[in-house]
Amino acid sequence: MLQSKSFAKKTKQGRVIKVVREHYLRDDIYCGATFCKVCDTSAARLSASASATILIVDTNVVLNQIDLLENPKIDDVVVLSVVLEEVRHKNLSVYNRVKALCTNPLRKFFVFSNEHHRDTYVKDMIGESPNDRNDRAIRVAARWYQIHLGESTQILLITNDRENKKRATEEGISAETVESYVKSLGKPDLLDLVVLSSSVDVPMEDVEDLRPSKKKIIYSEHKPMSEVTSGLLHGIYHQGKLRVNRYNPFEAYVGSESISEEIVICGRANMNRAFHGDIVAVELLPQDQWRDGKSLIIDDDDDDEEEVHLVPNSADDVPRFENPVQPTSGSSPPVSSHPPGRVVGIIKRNWHSYCGSLDPMPMPAGNAGVAHALFASKDRRIPKIRIQTRQLGNLLDKRIIVAVDSWDCLSRYPSGHYVLLIENDINSRPFSSQVLACLPPLPWSLSLEDLANSNREDLRHLRVFSVDPPGCRDIDDALHCKPLGNGNFEVGVHIADVTNFVLPGTPLDEEASQRGTSVYLVERRIDMLPKSLTEDICSLCSDVERLSFSVIWELTPDANIVSTRYTKSAIKSCAALSYVEAQARMDDSRLMDPLTTDLRNLNSLAKIMRLRRIKRGALTLASPEVKFQIDTETHDPLDIGMYQIREANQMIEEFMLAANISVAEKILKHFSLCSLLRRHPSPTKEMLEPLLRTAAAVGLDLDVSSSKALADSLDRAVGDDPYFNKLIRILATRCMTQAIYFSSGDLSPSEFSHYGLAAPIYTHFTSPIRRYADVIVHRLLAAALGISRLPPIFMDGPQLTSIADNLNYRHRNAQMASRASVELHTVIFFRNRPTDTEARILKIKSNGFIVFVPKFGIEGPVYLVAKDKGSSDWVVDEAHQKVTKAGTKITYGILQTVRIHMEVVEPQPNRPKLQLTLII
């Protein structure tokens, strides 16, 4: 039965209007306790025993102590809907985590809709603030629980709000603060997860501060939000995302829309507690404080050395602007292109968990084992974080994850607490049983039903083969090529039919969509789909019958497409070749077997297609990929080298591109509003700036007006040595942003284009085993062909957009993880092998330069000046990108070859790094 009460509220939507909404109060909301005799217990999640303690948490507890709540030792928690709603408004990421807890079948978290329950709904009282009203609602609900479940069950209200706790006790509800509750549990490891509240709820003397004498204000106070907003409106402040320089954590940039240039922020004091990625409000410094370049490299108590990194692949990975390095003498006027600024307020924090290790320190005596330690993140852009722990011995020399809680202006470092998680947010956990239950039983083989399906064409008679990197187990693409009577060729691209096994809406599908992509690490792979699918059922291995989704063209000998058709099919691959094998077959003129002929035909077609694509303006970009040979027993890298690209690779690539484009056209034709496509935005002028500057320094004139012009001028950029062109291409690649997935309904057709490939539309179709985007595209294509119905999710525009966003995010994280893995192995490799090698100079700085080592694909700084020495006698010529030693003729210019020595050093424990030094 329904009871109706309407309440009025005012919302602002340009103007103030009165909104009346109904609010139904019900009597069929259950308490969620399994032992309850009155309520329906079918959906109950709380403890089965009546003597248990049931916790009711306050909003501030959820917001601040989510790490504690996520610990499996905390259970039997009632989350009130009023709390959830408040959490959702204040912090969406915490909300999502609570939501995950409440849906996790292993945890006893129950959501009680107190706002819709007849007995727990509270009406606003006149003059009561929303906060007080919500607190009252929590207390009313707590009391209801106590009465409802009887005296034998203890209901405990957990709140850190003193006022709320006091009132609760007055009203006869037992209430505790988080600290005292966790202390009463007697589990020291839980105590570490408790965030010590430094908020107003707890008086300052409660917060343990071991060094009261050092209590001086280090950072200036953030401006209140109202002042920031009005400042932004009046153009005094500028809003933007803070990006910390990867090479120098004391320098950051803010790109703001209200000012055309990037604002540079130097020093921790000016950064004023902002983290990398925060949205901040910045105030420009007055002209007289515009400092010249020398002071930009600030020596704080932290080290500011640069680390050796892999070469970034695109602009997203590169700190966008170089140090505005100035000539040595202070007399020269500041010519910095970026105005300096100061952070006055933080609009949105980007705090999450950081991975790293504790700075070594002696074990403190006494103090109940509580120790304050400094945590140094692996990511150098993150400042050190102060944490409090009771198990210091346990954590020292370990890689841990720390979350940031607060940073007040009295402390030099932010304070945080440790949690355990995974860096780059990649889910490497094994698949759950629900997911595995969706898999077909093994051994799987082609059934008659599959063949009888009229939508599935039997192509087992075709000579289909696959070409992949050696050792590839997840083969998702195969090809065939058949000469036709009229001189044309029938070419087919066959892609593993993953969607036949991954049905929409199943747990398997949800898991895959969350993971988004497989992650390739050195000698390890974190799969998107369970192993039996990845390596067996879907993988198009040789000599087994497999289901596939095929794109079949009829091509003229000049590689013009006569017709295209798409079909689900059954194939039987006759050979799974590696690139090397395929190349060897094509090159060996004695081989005349049909398979080799097919390969040669395909190759000649691919060459024509490639040429045409390049003519159209596709960029041939270069990104150095590093390959390791790994010792099978110790898993130590044995050799390291650049990945070699052969004609066979290009051949396969060409047909995959063609298949992707054909599929993109087809799905867009049928579903113009909900296709998942991939686009690559054209780089802006500013993004190409570093490339142009470098090119100008070596006397090269690049035309960047269009992708075609750029491609042509890149082709013309041939220096005196063979590697010159590749270097320029690598630099060009880094100026580009990454290509991204999007839903076609979100953008206008003119924005669909893929800059790098010079294709008007593009999508991903060819790797459904390792990318979820391809799975979506498979479903779209199947629906376009009328084979299956479009899952309802595609009707939901925002949801599709959020899927695309998640894919982009996962994709990027996967790349970062792969890079990190390669970096790690590089360090392991060079640990016992100090090496001398050749390197090229990429960037000139005042105290050294950044070099690129072509042989190993790594880049890092080389210092000309020792760090402890103050001034240098090197003169930087910004315009010509040259550095000259004063008084001598020793000069280094950009792209010049130098010899360097590579060695692993370990200046700080647990943080080994590769050091490059110049050999003169």
Partner: protein, 242 residues
Amino acid sequence: MEYVDSLTGFRLDGRRPNDMRQIRGEIGVVAKADGSALFEMGNTKVIAAVYGPREVQNKGQQINNQALVRCEYSMANFSTGDRTRRPKGDRRSTEISLVIRQTMEACILVHLMPRSQIDIFVQVLQADGGTRSACINAATLALADAGIPMRDLVTSCSAGYLSSTPLLDLNYVEDSAGGPDVTVGILAKTDKVTLLQMDSKLPIDIFENVMQLAIEGCKAIAQYIREVLLENTKLLESRKGL
């Protein structure tokens, strides 16, 4: 936006997906009219007045073998929060007028009243989604009150599909989400559909579920309307002293 809370399964206003809003019907609210009724679905409030059967005003429109049914739908200026003055006879109200007329015509035994005219006036006093359905329900009550012979009671209800869940009786917030919105009108006893409208798109199998839900809603409304009429009849009986 989440229209159905994934944790508790409640809609924004505290209903379950297949809960209807509170409905209320009242007969005889306009004394001058031959029949009148007030119908509320939650915050949607509609008044209907029926005149007739009476002489056809415009002789040119007279139909010799059946009654002429006319319908006029309007929204009071104060029916929505912001007081915008709508011109009479805009596209939307013309369309709804037509829909109501056709729906009612399907159940009135027009052939019993040749050369006469029946006027149905419906006005929305307060709009909160589902006005179309509320108008039809109000008109049914008013026609019954006027004693106009009808085949059956026509009732109407809407259903939508948001957050991958079929929802019964959308309110304004849910209605303006832009999702599919199916309005169904049925002849309650004979189980015949006299009105079916949908905004946006739905796959056919989901559509069937949503429509079935709307039909369930219609039946529940019919049950309620019958109760109201019965109550009213009892009142009339007692007045007559029977």
